[in-house]
Every structure is written in C-alpha cells, then in structure tokens.
Amino acid sequence: MKKMILKILKFVVLGIYLVAAILPFYWVLITSLKGPKEIYTFPIRYFPSKVTFESYRQLFSFANFGVYFKNSLLVSLSAALGAMIVSILAGYALSRHRQRRFKSGVLLAFYFTQMIPPFVLMTPLFTMLSKFQMIDKLSTLFILYITMVTAFSSIMSKSFFDNIPISLEEAGYIDGCNTMQVLFKIVFPLSLPGMAAIFSFAFVNIWNELFLAVMFIMSDEKRTIPVALNSFISKAGISWDIMSAGLVIALLPTMAVFAFAQKYIVSGLTKGAVKG
C-alpha cells in the first residue's frame, strides 16, 4: 500500500516537472497563433479562438526572417562542422600523447578559457579584427564560433578517445597501416557517436549565440536569428505577436537536433564536464 502511494506520488511529481518544462513553450506557441488583437484582450485565453498564421506572415515578409534563418543555419552548420574537425584532432592528440605533464598542461590551458567572461574579449577582438577588415562578415562569426566551442569540445573529444583502446591502433600499425589509414579506417568509425555528440553540442551553442553576433554584424542582410530577435526589442516595447512567432522559428532547429541527438548531447555533456 505504502509502495503504491509512493509510486503515484513519484509520477505526480514527474508530471509537475513536465508541465513546468512545457508551459512556457506552449504559451509562446499559442501567442504566435493568436493574432495581434487577441493577444492583448481580457480575459486571457489559453487557446486561440481562431488559429491564424498572421504573425508568421508578417515575420517573413516585413521582418526578413527568412534571410536571418538562412544566415544562422549557414554559420551554425559550418562552424559546428569546423569545430568538430578541430576538436577531434586536438582531442585525439591529447588522448594519445604519452607525456602526462604536457597533457595536463594543455588541458589546463583549455579549462582556463572557460573561466574568462566572454565580454572581456569583445572589445579587444573588435579592435583587432577591424584592423584586418573582418567586421560585418559572416566568415568572421564562423571563425569566432569555432574558437568559442573548441576548448570544451576538445575536452569532450579527448574523453571519447580515451574510451577507445589504443591496442586496436597498434594492431593496425602491425598490419602495415600508416597513421592516416589508422585514423580513417580504425579510429574514426569507432568514434562516430562521439563526433555526433560534439557536432550537435557545438551546433546548439552556436545557434544560440547572441553577443558576438550583435558586436560583429551590422548590415541587416547578415543578421543571425538572435540578433534579429534582439532588434525586435525597441524602446516602445515588444510586439509579442511577431516576437513569439520569431521565437517559435528560432526554437525549431535546436528542437530537431535535440530530438535526434539527445542521447549524444547528454553523453557529450557528461563526458566533457565530469571526467574531463
């Protein structure tokens, strides 16, 4: 009997967590489907009286959201791919290098970057990059985003490689493979889940980045989605119909990545931060 009550209690609490997690998203979705008039009327309705896509139409025609979406997607996909390559190389080297002191030194150098408030870097980066005419370019964001996620991704990828026994590679060398063959034929196929983890992890972080993009992008046609959302906030306030439609669109890609790669993201997060 007591067991039964405990079990029911457990699922009630789990239910509360679920409602709490979903409610904000539900509210934004509903707002985006209401149309401007119904948003600002009393009493507040928890379901639109008439579903309308007016906010989305305005978002894409008047606010150019399609272009921003394309920019965000382009930068996030390419930078996540770049970060994956850079950090797989670094992680592999860290995992296989035989000098312990060297290894812990490099790891420390990676960890240190995690302590720096990103905003301290903004101005020096800006003055430096403006000297090289690199302001207002999506390619600049591409490079900065790779850098932004490299340290953590490298730590993550090191711990993935730590779990692949080195004896497999030694067997490859004995059979006459060279380094590249060992990497491409033995190591990489085994580390595919790790790569998926790094890629999805980097993608989510880059997709969400706001402050670098605000600092380095000026022209309207180069904006990313977070910059566009930021620009919807004006002195006069926020028009929540367009904003909530923008938020829904902004959430879609991370939702897709999370639904598809949740397993990898979770394993990457735990491997990168706990074991190191």
């Binding site: 457990k10 609490v13 967590y17 990676f110 905003f119 301290v120 020096p124 340290a151 999370f258």
Partner: protein
C-alpha cells in the same frame, strides 16, 4: 619512433591552439591591459590611468557597486541552490526505467538546448504585467487580486529573473546527476537493504557520497557559468528597474554596449575573473576533494 609519434600528435593540436591563441589568449591579455587604460568611444586619447577604472566602478554614484555585488551573490547562490536541488530530485525520480522515459527526458531536458536570451524573452512574456500568464494563473487561484508588475517592480524583479534561471538550469543538473547515479553499483543498495537501511539512509550514506565528485564539479562549473551568464537578465530587464537586477556581468555589458566605456568594462571583467578564481580555489579547498581532477 616514439618521438616521431608524439610530434605528429603535436601537429594535430595546432589548429585548436592557433584559434585559441589568436581569438582568446591575445584578446584576454589586451583586455587585461585595457583595464588600466582610459579607453572609451568618446575619448580616443587612449592612455594608462592606473587604478582609475576600478575606482570609478567602485565609487560610481549611479550604479551602487555594493548593490551590484550583493545582487550578483543573490543571483548566483539562489539560482544554484534551486537548480541543484530540483535537478537532483528529477534525476532521482528518473533513475529507474519507466515506460516512455526516453520521450519524457526529451521534453524535460530540452530547455537546456535553448538560448538564455530566448528563455529570457519567453519568461518576460510569461511575467508580463498586463497580459502575462503568471499573473493570470495567480489571480485564478486567488493568490493575488491585482496584477503584479513582476519585471517593473524592483521588489519582484530579482525573484522573477531568478525563477527563469532556475527553470533553465534544472535540466543541466538532472542530466549530469542522472549519469552519475547510473554509475552507482546496484550491489551497494542490495547490501544496505539486507542491513535494513531506510530510503533516507541509503540516500545520505550511499548515493550522495558516491556521486560527491560529480556534485562538486558540476556545482563549481555551474557557479562560474551563472556568474558569467547575463543573457536571461539582459533579455528580461537589462539590469533594471532601478538597478534591482544589475549583476556584475550585466553591468559589464551595459558599460560596453551602452556607454562604450571599454576601459571600465575590462576592469569589471578582471573583477569577475578574480572573484571566480578565488572562489574556485576556496571551494576546492573546503570540499577537500582530491577526486576532482582536471
């Protein structure tokens, strides 16, 4: 052979290091120098000024520095405690498999993947003083009779941004602690049951000691992260009203993005870094954990 192998591995580190040196290490050194310079958009005569920036921040009449420090402490500490406790409870509840656990976790963990800025926007709509769902729900259950301006009233603003932050941080702890919980050998519990241990005893005598290294490293990481993380506040209040939600990180952003005072911004960055550094040393010392290795 051995030497050649290590050298080849060294080459593989080059891309990561070139990027980090160019776009993190050089800028942070320059940022450190800037903290001791007059450096703002309206006065292009850049020169060294000793500790003037730090003085200006501490004795600022418009932005009471001690208020900002105490705001930061409240923001970090309250957010962290609730994120951890709620995340731990969720992890404990999700530990044993149940039907649909995979889908369930996709939903409750998803907030982790959303940007802090978007979370802030979503919650400022939830907390809206006129048309917000929070006001409406509270009125419906009869807790309040008049709408509360959660984000415009200095009494409620800090609480509101912290609630949004807690909501955001619970999945992180749940994910990390769940992974740690699943590494505890089942035999420990079986042995404890034979000895007649209660649920509470098992929690405090087995579970918590066993995952202590994870608890220490996640809370440490999270503290640094929450302190460096102004996104939610920036989206919801930008530090206002009347400074009530201004923390060191939002103060820094306002200095750079609003007042274009790069010298003072850099000085604030140095203050944040030193606090975090001292905190990390202190934390690792008192938790006396040799298990936490980098």
């Amino acid at each position: 052979m051995e030497k050649k192998y290590n050298l080849r591995l060294l080459y593989m580190l080059i891309p990561a290091f070139v990027l980090l040196i160019l776009f993190t290490y050089i800028p942070i050194v320059r940022g450190g120098i800037m903290a001791f310079q007059y450096y703002n958009m309206f006065n292009l005569n850049i020169r060294f000024c000793g500790l003037e920036n730090f003085k200006a921040i501490i004795f600022d009449k418009n932005f009471n520095f001690w208020r900002i420090l105490s705001n930061t402490a409240v923001w970090v500490f309250v957010s962290l405690v609730f994120q951890f406790v709620l995340g731990f409870i969720l992890a404990l509840l999700m530990r044993k498999p149940f039907k649909g656990r995979g889908i369930y976790s996709a939903f409750v963990f998803y907030p982790w993947a959303v940007s802090g800025f978007a979370i802030g926007l979503v919650w400022s709509w939830m907390f809206n003083g006129q048309f917000g769902i929070v006001n409406d729900l509270l009125r419906r259950i009869g807790l309040i009779h008049q709408n509360i301006g959660f984000l415009s009233d200095p009494k409620f603003a800090m609480m509101s941004v912290i609630i949004a932050n807690i909501w955001y941080g619970v999945p992180f702890f749940a994910i990390m602690l769940l992974a740690a919980l699943q590494s505890i050998p089942q035999e420990l519990y079986e042995a404890a049951e034979i000895d007649g241990a209660s649920g509470i005893q098992k929690l405090f005598k087995i579970t918590i000691p066993y995952i202590k290294p994870t608890i220490i490293s996640t809370t440490l990481l999270r503290t640094m992260w929450i302190m460096n993380f102004p996104d939610i506040i920036y989206a919801m209040t930008r530090g206002g009203p009347a400074n009530s939600t201004n923390i060191l990180a939002t103060h820094l952003i306002n200095k750079v993005y609003q007042f274009y005072d790069y010298g003072q911004g850099a000085a604030l960055g140095m203050i944040i870094m030193s606090i975090l550094f001292i905190y990390a040393l202190f934390y690792l010392r008192i938790s006396a954990s040799k298990e936490v290795t980098l």
